[in-house]
C-alpha cells in the first residue's frame, strides 16, 4: 500500500515537475535567442545588461531594410515544400514496394540507403560543387530542391516503410481480389490508412529541409539562398553582432516552431503509434 501511495504521489507531483523541467531545459535556448534579439549588438555582449536592458526592435528593422529577409524566407519555403513533396512522391511508391512486395534484397537495399547517411557531407563537397557549376545549376532552386530531396530520401523511405509495414497484408490482398490497380492500392488503401505516418514523415522532412545548412550555404550565393544561409551570412568570428544574429535566427526558426506547435498532436501520434491504430 505504501508503495502505491508513494507512486501515486510521484505521479501527481513528481511527473509534472519533471516534465516542466525538461520542457524548460529544451525551451531555454529558444527563449534566450528571442530575448537577445531585442538587445543592441553592444548590449548583447555586455554582462551588465544580461537581464536588464532597453529592448529595441532595431535588429528586426535592420533585417528587412538591409538584407531582404523575405527573399530568403521565400526561398526556404519554396525549397523545403518542394523537396518534401518530391521526397514523398518518390518515397511512397518505393516504401510501398518494399513493404508489400519484398524481394530477397529488400533488407540490403534499406541498409544501403541508410548507409548513405553515414557519408560525411564534406566528403562530397567538391564533386557536388563542380557538378552543380558544370551543369549550370549552381545557386538555383533546382539544385537545392534536388539535394534536399536526396539527403532526406533515405529517412523518408525508412519511416514510410515502418508505417506501411503495420498495415495488414490481408487488406491489400483483399483490394487486389476486388480488382484494384497498383496506383489504386496506393491511393485508396495505403495513403488513407497510413495517413498519420505520412503526415509525420512530411513534417519531419520539412523541418530537416528548413534547417539544412551545409548544402544550402555552399551551393548558393544569393539567388537561391535560404534562411540558414542568411544566418550564416550574419555570423562574424568576433561575435560583435550577437543582437543582429539572434534576430535573424529567431526569424528563421520562428515559422518552424509555430508549425511544430500546431502539428504537435499529429507528430506525436505519427511518431509513437504508427499507422493503423
Amino acid at each position: 500500500m505504501a508503495i502505491v501511495a508513494q507512486n501515486s504521489k510521484f505521479g501527481t507531483f513528481g511527473r509534472p515537475i519533471l516534465a516542466w523541467a525538461v520542457a524548460l531545459l529544451f525551451f531555454f535556448p529558444i527563449f534566450w535567442l528571442v530575448f537577445t534579439s531585442f538587445k543592441t549588438d553592444a548590449d548583447a555582449v555586455n554582462p551588465e545588461f544580461l537581464f536588464f536592458f532597453t529592448p529595441t526592435l532595431e535588429n528586426y528593422a535592420n533585417m528587412t531594410e538591409n538584407y531582404d529577409y523575405w527573399h530568403f524566407a521565400t526561398n526556404s519555403i519554396v525549397t523545403s515544400v518542394l523537396a518534401t513533396a518530391v521526397a514523398l512522391v518518390v518515397g511512397i511508391p518505393a516504401a510501398y514496394a518494399m513493404a508489400f512486395n519484398p524481394s530477397r534484397h529488400t533488407k540490403d537495399i534499406l541498409m544501403w540507403m541508410l548507409s548513405t547517411k553515414m557519408l560525411p557531407a564534406a566528403a562530397v563537397l567538391y564533386p557536388m560543387t563542380f557538378l552543380a557549376k558544370g551543369l549550370g545549376i549552381y545557386d538555383t532552386h533546382f539544385v537545392i530542391i534536388l539535394v534536399l530531396t536526396l539527403v532526406n530520401l533515405p529517412i523518408v523511405i525508412w519511416m514510410l516503410f515502418t508505417y506501411f509495414k503495420e498495415i495488414p497484408k490481408d487488406i491489400i490482398e483483399a483490394a487486389q481480389m476486388d480488382g484494384i490497380s497498383t496506383w489504386g492500392e496506393i491511393k485508396e488503401i495505403l495513403i488513407p490508412l497510413a495517413w498519420g505516418g505520412i503526415a509525420a514523415t512530411a513534417l519531419l522532412t520539412f523541418i530537416f529541409c528548413w534547417n539544412e545548412a551545409y548544402w544550402t550555404v555552399r551551393l548558393t550565393t544569393t539567388e537561391a539562398s535560404t534562411l540558414s544561409a542568411l544566418i550564416e551570412g550574419n555570423r562574424a568570428p568576433e561575435g560583435l553582432f550577437f543582437g543582429r544574429l539572434s534576430a535573424v535566427s529567431a526569424a528563421a526558426v520562428g515559422p518552424i516552431v509555430v508549425l511544430g506547435w500546431f502539428c504537435q498532436k499529429q507528430l506525436v501520434r505519427g511518431l509513437s503509434f504508427g499507422a493503423v491504430k
Binding site: P168, A174, A175, Q176, M177, D178, G179, L193, V276
Partner: protein
C-alpha cells in the same frame, strides 16, 4: 462459369517445397472443401488459385483460360479472409461497393446490389458504420457481402468462420450453404472443421503435406477412405484404428472401425472385445465412451445411445459390425 483446374502445380517457399506437383479439377458450380492438418498447404493452394501466390511450376486454368501469369485483380474471383480484411477507413456501404466501383459499375446498379446484399445479410441498419464499430459476425457478413455483389466466377473462403463463436458459426454455415444452393456459383472453402467439411461440401479434398490424399463426396470419404490417413481424418469422433492380432485376423496391417459401428454391452458375449471404461462423455443425444484394454488401440472410442448407463471402471464387451470394418495393407492403402 467457374471451372478451376490446377495442372501439375508446384509451390516452393525458398528451398522448401510446400506443394509437390498437384492436379485438381473443381467443376463449375461445385462446392469444394480443402481439409487437412495445420500447415498442410490449404491456404497456400487457395492463394495459388487466387493469384496471391505465384506458382513455382505448373498451370492454373480458370474457365479454359490459362491464368497462371494473370494478376489476382484480373481473375474474376472473390475471396473471404479469415481476418475479414475489411477496409477500416470506409463505411460498410463503401466496403461493399468497393469491388463494383473498381469494376466501373454505374452507381444506380451499385446501390441496387448493396441494398439487396444488405437485406440478405441483415446489414441494413449498419451500412453507415465503420468496420471497427461492428461485431465479429457482422464483419464477416460485410466480407461476404463484398464478395457476392460483383458476381464473381468463383468464391474463395479461407477459414471464414473460425473467428466466430460456436452458435454464430452454425448459423453462418447454413447461410453460406444456402447462398451456394441459390447462386450455384463455384465455391472453394478451406476449413479444419469436420462438420463444416461434411455438411457443406459437394467434394472434399483431403490434403497432407501438400499432397492430395483423396478427393470425393463427403459420404464417399466416410464410407470408403482410400488410406489410413483419410480414415483417421474424416469423421468425428475419429475412426478407431487397430493394429496387431485383431488386424491379422482380417489379413490386414491395420483395421479401422468407426465409433458408431460398435455395439457396446455390459454382458459378456462370445467373440466380443473386453475392455474397461475410462471416460464416458454424456452428450444427451449420444454417449462417447473411451475404453481401455483393447489390444492395438488405446483408448478405443465407441459412440452409443444417449441413455447408456456406463461409468468409469465398468467392464464392457464390444462387438464391431463385421460389414463395416475397413482394412488397410502395409502401405496404409485400403483393401477392398
Amino acid at each position: 462459369m467457374g471451372r478451376i483446374v490446377l495442372e501439375n502445380v508446384v509451390k516452393n517457399f525458398g528451398e522448401t517445397q510446400v506443394i509437390p506437383p498437384l492436379n485438381l479439377t473443381i467443376k463449375d458450380g461445385e462446392f469444394a472443401v480443402f481439409v487437412g492438418p495445420s500447415g498442410c498447404g490449404k491456404s497456400t493452394l487457395l492463394r495459388l488459385i487466387a493469384g496471391l501466390e505465384d506458382t513455382t511450376a505448373g498451370k492454373v486454368v480458370i474457365d479454359d483460360q490459362d491464368v497462371t501469369e494473370v494478376s489476382p485483380s484480373k481473375r474474376g474471383l472473390a475471396m473471404v479472409f479469415q481476418s475479414y480484411a475489411l477496409y477500416p477507413h470506409m463505411t460498410v456501404r463503401k466496403n461493399i461497393a468497393f469491388p463494383m466501383r473498381m469494376a466501373g459499375m454505374d452507381e444506380a446498379e451499385q446501390n441496387k446490389r448493396i441494398e439487396a446484399a444488405a437485406t440478405a445479410l441483415n446489414l441494413t441498419d449498419y451500412l453507415d458504420r465503420k468496420p471497427g464499430q461492428l461485431s465479429g459476425g457482422q464483419r464477416q457478413r460485410v466480407a461476404i457481402g463484398r464478395a457476392i455483389v460483383r458476381e464473381p466466377s468463383a468464391f474463395l473462403f479461407d477459414e471464414p468462420l473460425s473467428n466466430l463463436d460456436a452458435a454464430l458459426r452454425v448459423g453462418m454455415r447454413l447461410e453460406i450453404s444456402e447462398m451456394h444452393k441459390r447462386m450455384k456459383t463455384t465455391m472453394v472453402y478451406v476449413t479444419h472443421d469436420q462438420v463444416e467439411a461434411m455438411t457443406m461440401a459437394d467434394k472434399i479434398v483431403v490434403l497432407q503435406a501438400g499432397v492430395i490424399e483423396q478427393v470425393g463426396s463427403p459420404l464417399d470419404l466416410y464410407h470408403a477412405p482410400r488410406n489410413v490417413f483419410v480414415a483417421g481424418f474424416i469423421g468425428s469422433p475419429k475412426m478407431n484404428l487397430l493394429e496387431g492380432p485383431e488386424a491379422k485376423k482380417h489379413k490386414a496391417k491395420t483395421i479401422g472401425i468407426r465409433p458408431e459401428h460398435i455395439e457396446v454391452s455390459t454382458k459378456s458375449k462370445k467373440g466380443a472385445w473386453k475392455g474397461t471404461v475410462g471416460v464416458a462423455e454424456h452428450l444427451g443425444s449420444d454417449t462417447f465412451i473411451h475404453i481401455h484394454g483393447i489390444e492395438g488401440c488405446d483408448p478405443l472410442t465407441v459412440r452409443a445411445a444417449g441413455d447408456v448407463a456406463v461409468k468409469h471402471g465398468d467392464t464392457v464387451y464390444l462387438t464391431p459390425d463385421p460389414k463395416l470394418i475397413h482394412k488397410f495393407d502395409d502401405e496404409g492403402l485400403r483393401i477392398s
